[in-house]
Symmetry: C2
Subunit: 214 residues, 2 copies
């Protein structure tokens, strides 16, 4: 009954698109992308199934919109942690930023597994990865935040230039893989404290890979 217009009296809804999107987000949050069922979303909004087709080309279009919204929520969540880092020694700030992005990434996945899986369900390629739709309040995607952190590592001399190109991919892979193994992979059974501890070790590994001497 959240965010839902169960007893509508006007023939027209007003903002059906937004309502469907929110219903879709609820479904996704509860059980992942497969649960984003067009008929169920319209049911929750109190509208006939076909009404959805005035706002989304088909179920995939709805799912994609939900996916984008989920990604935006994740971006906002990470952004918040990122922005809370106090200024200071550039080297330390950059390390803290890297850690913030990684920690926030895993935390969001663990706290909102359905949204996390939905965010990555509709395969978005690199160009679309930075669209405003997917960005958080501040307009920065997790990928961009990662870029900021890594640039800081290079600028502060913590990481050699030679390792810079596409370094985002390495950090991202580690954290993304860990998140997935934990939320619906073989590490599902890991208790939360172990998840948090291992998250830090994953980030340690990334740091070591960035800063290790050759």
């Amino acid at each position: 009954m959240t965010a839902i217009d169960a007893a509508r009296h006007t023939y027209h809804h007003g903002d059906l698109r937004q309502a469907l999107l929110e219903a879709g987000l609820e479904l996704a949050a509860a059980s992942g992308p497969d649960a984003v069922v067009l008929r169920e979303a319209t049911r929750r909004v109190g509208v006939s199934p076909n009404a959805a087709y005035r706002h989304f080309a088909d179920r995939d279009a709805l799912l994609e919109a939900v996916s984008d919204a989920a990604m935006a929520r994740m971006a906002g969540s990470i952004d918040e942690i990122f922005d809370a880092i106090p200024p200071g020694d550039p080297r330390e700030v950059a390390c803290a930023q890297l850690r913030a992005v990684g920690t926030g990434y895993v935390a969001f996945a663990v706290d909102h597994p359905g949204l996390f899986r939905t965010a990555f369900f509709v395969p978005a390629d690199m160009e679309r990865a930075a669209t405003a739709e997917k960005a958080g309040r501040s307009g920065r995607t997790p990928f961009e935040l990662l870029t900021v952190a890594i640039d800081g590592l290079v600028a502060s001399g913590t990481m050699p230039e030679s390792r810079r190109p596409n370094a985002e991919f390495l950090a991202w892979s580690a954290v993304h893989g860990f998140a997935l193994l934990v939320i619906d992979g073989p590490l599902r059974a890991l208790p939360r404290p172990a998840v948090d501890a291992t998250t830090q070790r994953v980030i340690d590994m990334v740091e070591a890979g960035f800063t290790a001497a050759e």
Copy 2:
């Protein structure tokens, strides 16, 4: 028409379970877990939809069997690369083993994305991760191969004992995440040579994380 009994003349099939499993594998290989459709599998085998229920409790049971078989194929594929490593200096062997598991893992994901996604679709927890169903010909799961490699790193003094506990998770996360980002994530557009090069950098990162001085 592969591995399919399209024109059966006996009332009983003979080995319907196996036939359905193979049909399911074909579907999974072509388009991932969602494509494992019970009715389509029975259709390919030339049998009525309900016949499947004599061998699988429901569609999920079929999918799980297909998932296990997909995991076994991956295990076999990695095993092969692993076993091809020539003996020699223990330190070098251990490093080569680690690299073999990582490289094989990503290669399988890229070459058989549908099977890879299916293998991880039905969430198997740690206990089940080592079951014979999922093992390759030699009976060793990728996780076990990873364990062998890491144990070798410790034994040869390349990696400190203090980092040993659950180190598998770190390596696994990095490689798994990279594979997923590449096959249906934001790195989908990455050309194959770049994928291969980046795979090696991911493994470099893992190695650095294992061996770096504290």
